[in-house]
Amino acid sequence: MTNALELRKLHQFFNQGTVNERHVLKGIDLKLAPGEFVAVIGGNGAGKSTLLNSIAGSLPVDQGQIKIEGEDVTYETVAKRARLIGRVFQDPQMGTAPLLTVEENLSLALLRGQKRNCWSFGVKKKQRQFLQEQLALLNLGLEDRLSAEIGLLSGGQRQAITLLMATLQNPALLLLDEHTAALDPQTSQIVMTLTAQLVAEKQLTTLMITHNMADALKFGNRLIMLDQGQIAIDVAGAEKAQLTVPDLLALFKHKSGQDLTDDRVLLS
């Protein structure tokens, strides 16, 4: 079976060739089987965001190869590889177009990966009911707000819609970039629950960066910890299910020979 995602010897350098050179990703090898839901944790500067940006295409790859569903996308632009990727950003403002309506935003997402033409309308009446049903799944009362400008909605509502947009077209890979970090704790839990529900329903292969260790343990069936540009911990299945926060900290100390001292990780 083809891997949903395959990274081979992925390296990223910042400021290459200068005194400020930083080797951010140091040869990441990673294979994701279809349907795997992977939580990625790691301290600041561990390379989590770099990893995600490399896969999404917003950061050109220095060395290595990226394959999604067997297709080599290493040198494709963000827009090109969007046919395979659904993405939710950390900033709730980033995933939607504020001046367009809820319906227009969703309609844009429905055409992800398809050719857009000038002879059919972007918003299709016959899709309205489908979009309303999808919005109803979010349980936020948004199904009646199809014609509201997205910019008028709250951060949590926008993030939930972004999540819906990213999954409407069943992407080969769903990328979640700390997508609940900017929300208040309650909204964050709602969006996280929605995420788990959508991922399970559509059986999406998912890579989720999170700062919240409890979330990383609670959600997903595999957990990866990045440390200094390398995969320090990779646990899955039953082993992952039994893991607790103290276990994880001990494991990290054992693997990397130091304490995990990033406050942001510990406190959440």
Binding site: S58, M94, G95, A97, L108, N117, F121, G122
Partner: protein, 303 residues
């Protein structure tokens, strides 16, 4: 009355150009200086063809297409070569100045006399009535097509790019291509206005583009200050109103005896004023609320 009619006819023409500028200015958030070159480009192409005996409507259409080409060049430089938008516009407009002279072979072409223009195709009407009729018909067509286009799959994607580029890319939209499309439509419309202007005024002149962007922006800002928060289609209609009002103001100023040589200084001052109106409105509102608050707090203390 004459003043009203001439302002109406010129205002209608200006509004075609203002709608063109609006597309780059508000959808892409770019003040595209290419306008100053594509306006006389449309005039030059059309005049040259009309003098050569080409059907005036065909000549007008080629003016529009030439403008699209100018937009393509600016759009290409801005998106693919990553040259800042303001510079891109200046580069194209500078280049177009020579191109326009090349096309016309001289610095101006007269269209008076026996040549056929879209105006002389309507022989039973006075120039200003013909201009108004043509202006209304062309505008209705332009606004109708734009509203339809910006609701198609591509049009919606183009609006999304202007609104949130990152999100557009994540949804598989090629932002560069969308920007280039908007650049092309925008400059096509500006050139179309130039083409019609040359036929109504009876001449094309290489320097007729100076002030294009200032006039267009003034029309847009007037429309936005007078009526806020409108749908795309309604906004375009109000820009027509804005352009006519602006032309009327200019006509009145000229009638008061302002030297036409000082007109461009006046254009610039007016636009600076219009651009600051939204801020002034906000400040005045703030001040009122503050004074009300102070009065209330003082009254409260007295109790």
């Amino acid at each position: 009355m004459d003043l009203l009619i001439s302002s109406l006819s010129l205002g209608l023409l200006w509004s075609i150009m203002a709608i063109g500028v609006y597309l780059t200015f508000r959808i892409l958030d770019i003040a595209d200086m290419t306008a100053e070159g594509s306006f006389p480009l449309g005039a030059a192409i059309t005049a040259r063809q009309i003098v050569a005996g080409v059907n005036p409507w065909v000549a007008t259409l080629s003016g529009f297409l030439a403008g699209c080409l100018a937009g393509l060049i600016s759009g290409f430089m801005h998106t693919k070569l990553k040259i800042p938008a303001l510079l891109t516009g200046i580069l194209t407009l500078t280049g177009l100045y020579s191109v326009n002279l090349l096309i016309m072979g001289q610095s101006n072409i007269s269209l008076l006399g026996r040549v056929k223009t879209v105006i002389s195709l309507l022989p039973d009407m006075s120039t200003s009535s013909a201009a108004i009729l043509i202006g209304v018909v062309v505008l209705a067509l332009v606004i109708g097509l734009l509203v339809v286009f910006f609701n198609t799959e591509v049009g919606l994607a183009a609006r999304a790019v202007g609104n949130n580029e990152e999100m557009s890319a994540a949804n598989g939209i090629n932002a560069d291509n969308m920007k280039i499309i908007i650049y092309m439509i925008s400059n096509g419309l500006i050139a179309l206005a130039g083409s019609l202007m040359a036929q109504i005024n009876g001449y094309a002149d290489s320097s007729m583009g100076i002030g294009t962007i200032v006039i267009a922006l003034a029309a847009i800002i007037i429309a936005e200050v007078l009526v806020a928060n409108l749908s795309f289609g309604m906004r375009l209609v109000t820009i027509v109103g804005g352009a006519i009002i602006y032309r009327l103001i200019i006509a009145l100023v000229l009638q008061w005896g302002v030297d036409p040589n000082n007109l461009r200084l006046f254009y610039a001052l007016m636009l600076a004023l219009f651009l600051s109106v939204p801020l002034l409105q906000k400040r005045i509102g703030q001040r009122r609320r503050r004074q009300k608050n102070i009065a209330e707090m003082e009254a409260d203390q007295d109790d």
